[in-house]
């Protein structure tokens, strides 16, 4: 990989310890992945939640922040492991919260934007088409490449901080034109997809794309950006997907032919049978849930409004909790518009700055979690501690409320 003379000087420590460490990571990882150079980025999105970063991750962030590190570009952050405002009332221990607060303090010292959301592209980090960014959250990577038309690889933790500090990212993978063409096509034959269908369809694409960039045709005209947020998140949870050419939606993908630049690709039909298979795979239990988790990725303010309507007049049954995960910004808007009160009238709770997949579900005593998030289902099941019931919102509300 080619380094400029300035980058070489940074690597040899002439620009301080934090930049030396950041440049070492960029150079080695760039080399490993076959990058030819480091290129400038417009923004970074990094990870700083205790549940996955652990003690070691705190040490990494503190090493950067205590050795003079400072983010060179606007840098947003994924959800924390606790609700940063109301953590006590969710039963989080002081000891656990303090671990998260150390990450928050290091992130603040590095000069980050404390948005604590995995749908940062809906609230506080808006690139324009054609820009290069370095984002670490897999759902937002799919959203960025597929819907915004900017370019990012799926940046791993540790490398994310290095990119943010240098304002650079290794040039490889999805930054290159030739790697952004559709190499396999999926055709949805689902007539009117439910919330769960969008997620199951995404998960199916993730499972069956392998390392190929997928295209997707057959979505209804009225598919919303929120639907596509959940579809993309499920795809990235099911496999190494970083972009989906949504035919007729993705910039430059007016047809499957333009998405693949004329190359013939394998076409896979996805219908009811395939989605049933996904549901059967992700749904691991028929036991009564002790938690219903809605979010993963964060619900938008529009989705909160829709949920308020669904929950109108309903009351949560005893023994079940319903947590609704969103960004601080959408939480604030829902509070001021009255939507938060409407949702919580049912007995549900709105929570912000955290998300179910990064919160300590098992430690909080939850054994069976019901959700319509394929991403949450995939992550929780791989840990093998908490059982997942994977259902559509209509069934969830039917079962959890009276």
């Amino acid at each position: 990989m080619h380094l400029t003379s300035e980058q070489e000087r940074t690597l040899s420590g002439e620009r301080g310890a934090a930049k030396e460490l950041a440049m070492t990571i960029l150079a080695k990882v760039g080399e490993a992945l076959g990058a030819d150079s480091l290129v400038p980025i417009k923004s970074a999105h990094v990870l700083a939640h205790y549940s996955s970063l652990h003690e070691a991750g705190i040490e990494v962030l503190e090493k950067f922040s205590s050795s003079g590190g400072r983010f060179a570009v606007p840098t947003t952050v994924d959800p924390a492991s606790v609700d940063l405002e109301n953590w006590k009332s969710f039963g989080i221990s002081q000891e656990y919260a303090e671990k998260q607060f150390r990450l928050c303090a290091a992130f603040a010292k590095l000069g980050g934007i404390p948005c604590w959301s995995c749908a940062q592209y809906q609230v506080c980090n808006f690139p324009k088409a054609g820009e290069t960014v370095a984002w670490a959250e897999s759902n937002s990577v799919v959203f960025a490449n597929s819907l915004i038309g900017c370019r990012t690889n799926k940046i791993t933790s540790g490398l994310d901080i290095a990119c943010a500090i240098m304002g650079l990212t290794p040039r490889f993978g999805m930054l290159l034109d030739e790697n952004r063409l559709a190499q396999v096509a999926f055709r949805s034959t689902i007539d009117r997809p439910t919330d769960l269908d969008y997620r199951s369809l995404g998960y199916y694409i993730g499972r069956h794309s392998g390392s190929r960039v997928p295209g997707l045709d057959g979505l209804p005209r009225d598919v919303s950006s929120d639907d596509l947020k959940h579809l993309g998140a499920a795809a990235a949870a099911g496999g190494p997907v970083t972009m989906i050419h949504y035919v007729g939606i993705t910039p430059g993908s007016e047809s499957l032919k333009s998405a693949s630049r004329g190359e013939r690709v394998e076409t896979i039909d996805v219908g009811r049978k395939e989605l049933d298979e996904v549901e059967a795979d992700l749904n691991q239990s028929e036991e009564k849930p002790d938690l219903v988790a809605l979010g993963v990725p964060h619900l938008s303010v529009n989705e909160l409004g829709q949920l308020a309507k669904i929950l109108d007049g309903k009351r949560l049954k005893g023994g079940t909790r319903l947590y609704v995960y969103t960004s601080s910004q959408a939480y604030d808007l829902a509070k001021r518009s009255g939507v938060k009160r409407e949702i919580e009238r049912s007995g549900a709770r709105l929570t912000h700055s955290t998300d179910a997949e990064v919160s300590p579900l098992k430690k909080l005593g939850f054994d069976v979690v019901m959700t319509n998030s394929a991403k949450l289902a995939e992550i929780v099941s791989s840990e093998g501690e908490v059982k997942i019931r994977y259902k559509q919102i209509a069934e969830i509300v039917e079962e959890a409320t009276s």
Partner: protein
């Protein structure tokens, strides 16, 4: 001991290591897939579920899962349960990042190599005694597992 088999790969992080092989034929992740405090593979979709990665020469074809992989890898090393070396078919950024940080923070050097032929997973078996030497870009199986 007779030299049985050797393979050349591409060196991502330098070092030498010797240990028992632990070989997966499926996509592998440390994130939510290996418990750092024990080094035990917990991922229900892994063919290594229940095995310990500690001090093993870990081979898997390619990575998967959450981008927090490097953090989980690093924490596993911090807890003293990290592998002796990691070998893959396709270069895996999470392992490289985690291993760089492991050396910087905890002084543990874990060699990482990649670009091995697809056949390696059927020629090296879990339990085989394996030597990794990045100076010669070579992985050698020096003894069969029992």
């Amino acid at each position: 001991m007779t030299k049985l088999l050797s393979f050349k790969g591409r060196v991502l992080l330098e070092g030498s290591a010797k240990g028992e092989a632990l070989v997966s034929k499926r996509a592998f992740t440390f994130a939510h897939g290996v418990e750092p405090s024990t080094g035990v593979v917990t991922d229900i979709r892994s063919d290594l579920r229940g095995e310990k990665v500690k001090e093993k020469i870990l081979f898997f074809p390619f990575g998967k899962g959450s981008t927090t992989g490097a953090a989980w890898f690093l924490e596993t090393v911090r807890m003293g349960n990290g592998p002796a070396a990691v070998l893959t078919q396709t270069a895996e950024a999470m392992i490289v990042t985690g291993a760089i940080l492991a050396e910087m923070l905890y002084g543990r050097r874990i060699p990482v190599m990649t670009d091995f032929p697809e056949t390696i997973a059927s020629l090296i078996h879990s339990g085989d005694l394996v030597t990794v030497e990045t100076k010669t870009r070579e992985v050698t199986v020096s003894g069969e597992g029992s």
